[in-house]
Symmetry: C2
Subunit: 220 residues, 2 copies
DNA sequence: ACTATTTTTTAGATTTACCTAAAATATTTT
DNA sequence: AAAATATTTTAGGTAAATCTAAAAAATAGT
């Protein structure tokens, strides 16, 4: 079955919303794709017809098994390309998302297999998100937001909560990237800000909003 | 100005036909793009409106200066990607054309600049065709078809006349690739076949059709 | 339980890139 | 030069993906 760019975009969006929020609505999908709810309804019908989606008018909808497989394929392509763009072409991690949005729609199994091999079968993309393997499996490592990390516990940044270039640009300014080791030294009750320590850098403060968008791993 | 995939495809096709045949017609374009002459007419009007094409009904048409620039951009992207697919991902030179047809439509100047740099600013693609640089300039090396090469003159294969996988597959079978050094030992009047000598390989014969599709350079 | 609000769907248009069939124009042949 | 043939264009239609505006259904508020 060959899908259009639009179909793939909808499936990917529905998948994302399903994972993050549990339930999905036409409004949410429309917002995600910068389109209108009426257009979403049209697409839902088409995806149902292609058996990629379970859907009845006015009811909850969710991806079918087949639909999930498609979504994972798109995510896999997107993240492999992002890895390529950052690690090989040396583009900044804040400028690769939009390019990967286009590359992800190129469907050649052979291309993706070779790319994966060329990159050394990476299992996370430059933002720390897991890359599904050829069978759709991905390593989901337990992660904790910085906002929940106990004080004085050494931890390592493993992913960011969003792809927005504003966030990524700010992180670059703060010298925080995937793999950065840090520790929370203090938590301010006033506004939830955290004081952070990174090796070789003086203590500094980040907002609660930022903390909620930074995920870390730590040795128990 | 942002162009659709269809518009880029038409411009590229018209450019190719212009170079190869001099004059172009709606029929030729239609055949090249596997579409119908009526559809070509529609597009010609649109391209004229965008000032990419000089066109009046029932008359010859040709790309404007601006149109040629667009065409060279598409060709540049196509050939850089082909180079990447063969030299980096190690795909066969007979399987990269279709993939590059898709990749060529991804328009991010930044992406292409970085790709070019990553590849080391190559000036020919895996089929020996010149890659336009960022300004649209390309090194056109004087090339002679094997059918015209004088007997016993050592020469080096520098490009092939078509991208068809049938041709490329046959060349692989014959151990001929870009850079292969060879010599024409004999020319048969009967059907224009040539007897070829390649170092380390016994003499063998190729057809006239094949000879016309192989281009070589030689020291005068 | 019944409004009020929000969400979702339908109905009807629009745009892009196609198509077929027929008309208009060019070109070639006799 | 007229007839026959080619090519190109017009006219009108289709499918995909979108839109707006209005109707239908679900959810929430009192």
């Amino acid at each position: 079955m060959d899908l259009s760019k639009a179909e793939e975009d909808y499936i990917k969006a529905i998948y994302r919303l399903q994972q993050d929020n549990g339930q999905v609505g036409t409004n949410a999908v429309a917002q995600e794709l910068k389109t209108k709810p009426a257009s979403v309804t049209d697409m839902l019908k088409k995806l149902k017809l292609k058996r990629l989606l379970h859907y009845e008018p006015y009811q909850e909808f969710k991806l079918s098994q087949e639909g999930k497989k498609v979504a994972l394929g798109v995510v896999r392509r997107h993240r492999l390309w992002e890895y390529f763009l950052v690690e090989k072409l040396r583009l900044g991690w804040d400028e690769v998302h939009d390019i990967a949005e286009q590359l992800e729609h190129i469907t050649s199994q052979r291309l993706i297999d070779k790319l994966d091999e060329y990159l050394g079968f990476p299992d996370t993309d430059p933002h720390g998100d897991p890359i599904p393997d050829a069978n759709g499996k991905m390593k989901v490592s337990p992660r904790v937001s910085l906002a929940q990390l106990p004080l004085h516990m050494p931890a390592e940044v493993c992913s960011v909560g969003s792809q927005s270039s504003e966030l990524l640009e700010m992180l670059r300014h703060l010298h925080i990237k995937i793999g950065t080791r840090l520790e929370v030294k203090r938590r301010f009750d006033f506004d939830g800000s955290l004081e952070i320590k990174i090796r070789n850098i003086p203590l500094f403060v980040i907002s609660q909003v930022m903390a909620q968008n930074l995920f870390v791993t730590h040795e128990h």
